[in-house]
Symmetry: C2
Subunit: 461 residues, 2 copies
């Protein structure tokens, strides 16, 4: 009979091969949420996640049915006086195409060179599994956790998180927590443990200009009929100046600059703008506001992008249509303390004023996400930093995410709690691409970091 | 036994019911050149056309095989000392969708209210049939024609005239003619017999700007990565001013203004800019160079139009891509004496200079057509006018066509001959749309006009 270790660290060390076997099992489930034919796999992955929570010792484990894929819930709430942490993650994955680019098949996980290769390895099965296994290590050796812990794991992160967003709005009271823990991001660079303290917000818009009721022939009408593309490009050319400054009046009013500590810490990051341009952007030159560093531009500045200009004729060959209507798909990334609703109104007002009166102007706001930033000095961020310092031997970089993760500001606002983002992936892990991988070292160390975080979060209460 | 009339007019009067029956037969053939499944119908229509030329008394009637649909040729060359006229038309038609919008099916011709409804009724089967029947009326009653006459009828007009363009270039010597006769246009208004004396030219271009090698995520790169749409709309916004003047240096240098007679005649046309805007353009306002009348703008001025802006994301919903590449499909209509090749070089030079250096700029010239204008004082245009005056009781309006009919300038240059364009359609005949029709009065009068034209063209030799 095997002797059960009495320390979580010894237990983890003993269980490593088993944990890896279990992760491989998890990764075998092709839970691709974007593809309807994988619906049974979504249910399977949800049930598998629930079983692993039960096996870890969590209580009240159950699936929460939704209009889409089920949520998985579990909790351990026997630490009165200690804070409550909500662990969030997702069991759904991206599609795996192009399949031919994979060295080993995406749903037949393979360990090569101390990394596990599979779709979902780092996004997010491998990372959420560190949370589950951290709880298991503590519960199996200590019989208890240092904090109260809830798990809320969704199956629609790659398709917009519809179900969890609705559930969170309706059940915030039952989910009451002091902090949310998310491991769904990456280290800034190998050897640079990283915490994300903010995400940009988003407004996604569609505008349309209509010049005539029907498409017209440019031979018969060209020279006298309105061409909405002509008005559209003129309008769009007035949204930013050539240096990348957005020209909409008041658009920067609410922008809160990062504090000096943050800026100073970014200057210490291993980041070379020229290397980033060559290797990541693969462009001849970078663009954007020259008075800000690249990291400031992508993390702390609002931006405006044109994504596509639907309308008219876009096929091969020559069709000489003057289209009745031309559209633009646009978005802005927003930063604290910009309000998506207010910014959307400013954009609409500005563009409406630019639209020539002979065109019908339509503005549609398709979606929004709040920007959010959590101070590094927050107790839970400090707990995360201390845990990382202990396990990795160095304090984390506090960075921001230029993207918009709608669930993060929603957790913050519905639960009135900070979101602690400890990223265990690496920049080259191939999220959403072929040959996605997760470093086994980061997997095991991640479990240690989460154990340490739960302890430190309790100690600082 | 029926008595054969000895005048072409009496013959026409006697044969009207039969000519209509034959036209109905011609219109029953669904010779849609854009749809490959109609290939057998193309052959059938070509053979039917050849048979009708033979029946009319033309000689050397045969199909000329091409890489696409056959050409139909026939001639009568026994009028030495008289000019040679080449009659051009096409036996192919546009697709008929939307089928549901047709009152009677497109290939089951129906006469309602003295009009024949069918796809191809006016474009071009009904109109070219007036030429064939004019020859028949003369040959069956006089045993001869007043001029030498060739027919060259193609089956690819609706798909770019590829075969006839190549044939014309290679066989111009065999086709030697003094004038080309085309009835493939419309009267300016009901009761206003019309001759087109010019067509605009065309250059069709595609430009592309590339900012990076791959599509990028606007969250991770937005603010620092080049967005080719941003550069594209800025570039395109500099092609014209807000009044519609093209800003490319030298672009207007070769423009030959219409002569005073032409301008004076257009002022007499039943044309009201406001009515045209409301009923034809269906727009809140017209655009374009304010110092020119609408008819000048669409007939005698070069124009530049954006047809579509391919690239990025144009589907429903929100995708936050910064595309690697963005394109524009553009064309210019040209007027005499602009050279398509020279104008294309000017456009390319101007745009290349505007493209920011951090983007790769590509320019592709997809197609060109020469502009052309024939003086109303040309003897064959005068012959057409005299014929119209005699049959319709009023002289024709000499107008221009804002569109580009590539075969017209090619006839002019390869045969060194003017193209006489006598349009027998009406503006509301529904070319390319549902319920296409051809007025029976214009069909019968058209035959008379063509007979008279052939006589007058000979008399003036």
């Amino acid at each position: 009979m095997e002797i059960m270790p009495t320390s979580s660290a010894a237990y983890l060390k003993q269980q490593r091969p088993l944990f890896l076997q279990e992760l491989i099992e998890f990764l075998r489930i092709p839970s691709i949420s974007t593809l309807p034919e994988h619906r049974p796999d979504m249910q399977h992955a949800a049930e598998w996640t629930a079983e692993s929570l039960k096996a870890a010792g969590l209580e009240k484990v159950h699936l929460i049915p939704t209009s889409g894929n089920p949520l998985v819930y579990g909790e351990w709430m026997h630490a009165p006086g200690s804070p409550t942490i909500l662990s969030y993650g997702h069991y759904d994955v991206q599609p795996a195409d192009p399949l031919a680019a994979w060295i080993s098949p995406p749903f037949e996980p393979e360990v090569r060179d101390e990394k596990i290769y599979a779709r979902g390895a780092t996004d997010n099965k491998g990372q959420i599994f560190t949370h589950i296994k951290a709880a298991e290590c503590l519960l199996r050796t200590q019989g208890q956790l240092p904090v109260n812990l809830r798990f809320l794991i969704e199956g629609e992160e790659e398709v917009g998180s519809t179900a969890i967003i609705q559930y969170l709005a309706e059940h915030a009271g039952e989910l009451r927590s002091d902090a949310v823990l998310v491991s769904d991001s990456s280290m800034f660079a190998p050897g640079v443990p990283t915490m994300d303290i903010g995400v940009r917000g988003l407004i996604y818009m569609e505008i349309e200009l209509e010049g005539s009721e029907n498409d017209l022939h440019s031979g018969l009408f060209g020279g006298a009929a309105p061409n909405p593309f002509e008005a559209l490009v003129r309008l769009l050319s007035k949204l930013k100046d050539e240096q990348g400054h957005i020209l909409i009046p008041g658009i920067y009013d609410a922008v809160r600059p990062p504090d000096d500590d943050e800026l100073a810490s970014w200057r210490r990051l291993p980041f070379n703008e020229n290397e980033w341009r060559e290797q990541n952007v693969k462009a001849l030159a970078l663009t954007g506001e020259p008075e800000f560093s690249v990291l400031e531009r992508i993390w702390t500045r609002p931006t405006l992008e044109i994504h596509g200009l639907p309308g008219g004729f876009t096929g091969p060959g020559a069709k000489t249509v003057i289209p009745a209507r031309a559209s633009a798909k646009l978005s802005m990334r927003l930063v604290p303390d910009q309000s998506p609703a207010r910014i959307a109104r400013q954009v609409e007002t500005y563009m409406r004023a630019l639209a020539p009166p002979q065109y019908k102007f339509t503005f549609r706001l398709l979606s929004t996400a709040e920007p959010v930033v959590f101070p590094p000095s927050d107790r839970f961020n400090r707990a995360g930093a201390a845990a990382i310092d202990k396990i990795f031997g160095r304090l984390p970089a506090f960075v921001r995410c230029g993207g918009s993760i709608p669930i993060v500001p929603l957790f913050a606002s519905h639960l009135n709690a900070p979101v602690v983002m400890i990223g265990l992936g690496l920049p080259d892990d191939g999220l959403h691409g072929p040959n996605e991988k997760f470093s086994l070292m980061n997997f095991y160390r991640g479990i240690e970091v989460i154990i340490e975080f739960l302890r430190t979060a309790a100690a600082r209460a």
